[in-house]
């Protein structure tokens, strides 16, 4: 009897705690995304109303900020966005291709010096990019690549993101070795094994690398800031920054509207690949 009483008491208590936790979490998540929602709502508000209220629902709905923002600089944001897409897509191709080649060599092929090269690759993982920033700038400037997309894209074709090589090596090692051996028996060259056996089986890790490369390149600010001087070449991030500078405090609507647009591709990836992104973070601790 007493036992039953304490039991139901305990369930009531844990239910109460459960409700309390939910209230806490709902409150916290609202606080977390409130700034984002506020920016979204501000971008649809008439200019004079942007700062007048903290409410999320605009009194009237206007697309003016988007139109004015899009054309707010001498070069339209359409140009910036297409530049960003071009750079990001080339970087994705470069990273997937070059990192998977290196990872295949490290994980599946036997050759002299493999361990040494692998150790060197791991060392570059820890290196802060600041150390190579200046010599790389001097190098690319000497090659006449400043004000082109080449300094942003070419390194990706040379597997500079050791992090993805590491990730792919881990994945490739998990694929049964018998597959290679069987293919080898059938007279497959290493190239064919890479292309026909390993790559098709590695879609999850290739997708992870692609998505993160895209998002990081899209958001990259320092690289474009250093290498791109001509507004025609600007990426969306540089465009936003210029917008802050050039309009000063005058066109907040346009600024917010373009900021919202610049978040759309990243948010889109998040919606579509949520599971993959979260698994990627959980297993590797990737930042961002």
């Amino acid at each position: 009897m007493t036992n039953n009483a304490t039991l139901s008491e305990a369930t009531t208590r844990s239910r109460l705690v459960g409700i309390l936790v939910h209230v806490l979490l709902i409150g916290a998540s609202i606080a977390m995304i409130y700034p984002l929602l506020w920016m979204l709502s501000a971008s649809f508000r008439p200019e004079n109303e942007i700062f007048s209220s903290a409410s999320l629902i605009p009194s009237s709905f206007s697309l003016r900020s988007y139109i004015e923002g899009w054309n707010g600089l001498p070069v339209s944001f359409g140009r910036f966005f297409s530049n960003s897409f071009l750079v990001a897509i080339l970087c994705v191709i470069g990273n997937v291709f070059s990192c998977s080649l290196a990872a295949f060599a490290f994980a599946r092929l036997d050759f002299r010096g493999r361990r040494v090269f692998f150790a060197l690759m791991l060392m570059t993982l820890m290196l802060p990019y600041h150390v190579t920033l200046i010599p790389q700038y001097v190098l690319f400037r000497g090659l006449g690549w400043v004000n082109t997309f080449l300094p942003l894209v070419v390194p990706k074709f040379l597997a500079v993101d050791a992090f993805f090589i590491f990730l792919m090596v881990q994945f490739f090692r998990g694929i049964p070795k018998e597959l290679d051996e069987a293919a080898m028996m059938d007279g497959c060259s290493p190239w064919r094994i890479y292309w026909k056996v390993i790559m098709p089986l590695s879609m999850p890790v290739l997708a992870t690398a692609s998505i993160f490369t895209f998002i990081w390149t899209w958001d990259d600010f320092l690289g474009p800031l250093i290498y791109l001087n001509d507004m025609e070449q600007y990426t969306a991030m540089l465009g936003l920054r210029t917008f802050v500078d050039s309009t000063g405090v005058s066109n907040f609507g346009g600024l917010f509207a373009m900021s919202v647009l610049s978040l759309v591709p990243v948010f889109g990836f998040f919606l579509v690949f949520q599971k993959l992104l979260i698994e990627g973070i959980a297993t590797t601790g990737m930042k961002r």
Partner: protein
């Protein structure tokens, strides 16, 4: 054996190995190893990009530690930022992860909502948003005004500006939170059941089971987040308009390095700055690994 001599060199494991490694090899030599050595050399020179580097010995390093107040400021700003943003971020991440790990309904939704700021946070757009939120007439002060508090203009007041960036960093606790969630899931449930039978309170279970078993993940998160915090650039640049102001209160180390290199074209001095950053990060990492044996438990 089938592996006859007919196989061309590039199809043998040896030849193919080198061939597959070729892009990485070129990248490693030209974009990593070469630049590292070059930057070490440049750090002992005066180099303005237009004339040949001029050997000055250790003058750059000497100047940094004896005559450069801005260097000292940037180190202080960065250390304050790291010291406050990383622990706060980790505490939030851990607390929310534990709340979410109770087998809660709607977990995927909560997880997504808490993770979203981390994902979007690297964008210039978020830095711009932050600047407006904490502006004198921004949302934060409007909110405070409802309670009769008149907030300062956070961004332009050097006493508060750095704290707005710390808040921004803490707001992005989502990715360490997800790593904590994954770590919490590894802790077997029967450990808690045994503790419950022994009558251990929830707090005791947390202190005696959760934290010790989670130390490898805490360690991992702390390292990753700290290294990342040292490298913070974009929000500092955007919020201070590239100046590091007001009164150098947002002069992050990386921002100062950028200014020296690409504002004043003092490439030699900036290279020395880069090397000092490398050494700071290496020392920090080494220290963390050395002390880890006293507090990180890897036993099953």
């Amino acid at each position: 054996m089938v592996r006859g001599k007919a196989r061309p060199w590039y199809a043998s494991a040896e030849g193919a190995g080198y061939l597959f490694l070729l892009p990485w090899g070129i990248g490693f030599l030209c974009l990593s190893l070469g630049p590292i050595l070059w930057s070490l050399y440049l750090s002992f020179t005066d180099f303005d990009l237009l004339t040949a580097p001029d050997w000055v010995g250790t003058a750059n390093y000497v100047r940094m530690f004896t005559a450069d107040a801005k260097f000292m400021t940037s180190v202080r700003v960065t250390f304050v930022y790291v010291l406050f943003s990383v622990p706060l971020k980790l505490v939030f991440a851990l607390v929310v992860a534990i709340l979410l790990n109770r087998g809660i309904r709607g977990l995927p939704l909560y997880r997504a909502l808490f993770y979203l700021p981390s994902l979007l946070g690297a964008s210039v757009a978020i830095a711009i948003l932050w600047r407006q939120l904490f502006a004198g007439n921004g949302l934060v002060n409007q909110f405070l005004a409802q309670f009769g508090i008149e907030g300062p203009s956070w961004i332009s007041n050097p006493n508060y500006s750095l704290w707005t960036l710390i808040v921004l960093a803490v707001w992005q606790f989502g990715s360490p939170m997800i790593v904590f969630l994954a770590g919490l899931r590894q802790i077997p449930a029967d450990v808690y059941e045994a503790a419950q039978i022994d009558g251990a309170s929830r707090w005791r279970q947390f202190v005696r089971i959760t934290v010790p078993l989670l130390t490898p993940v805490i360690f991992f998160n702390a390292i990753i987040q700290t290294i990342d915090a040292f490298k913070t650039f974009t929000p500092a640049f955007i919020i201070s308009n590239g100046s590091g102001g007001p009164v150098n209160s947002l002069l992050f180390y990386t921002l100062y390095l950028y200014q020296e290199a690409f504002g004043y074209f003092r490439m030699g001095y900036a290279s020395a700055l880069a090397w000092v950053l490398l050494i700071i990060i290496a020392l920090f990492t080494a220290f963390a690994f050395l002390t880890s044996r006293y507090w990180v438990h890897y036993d099953e």
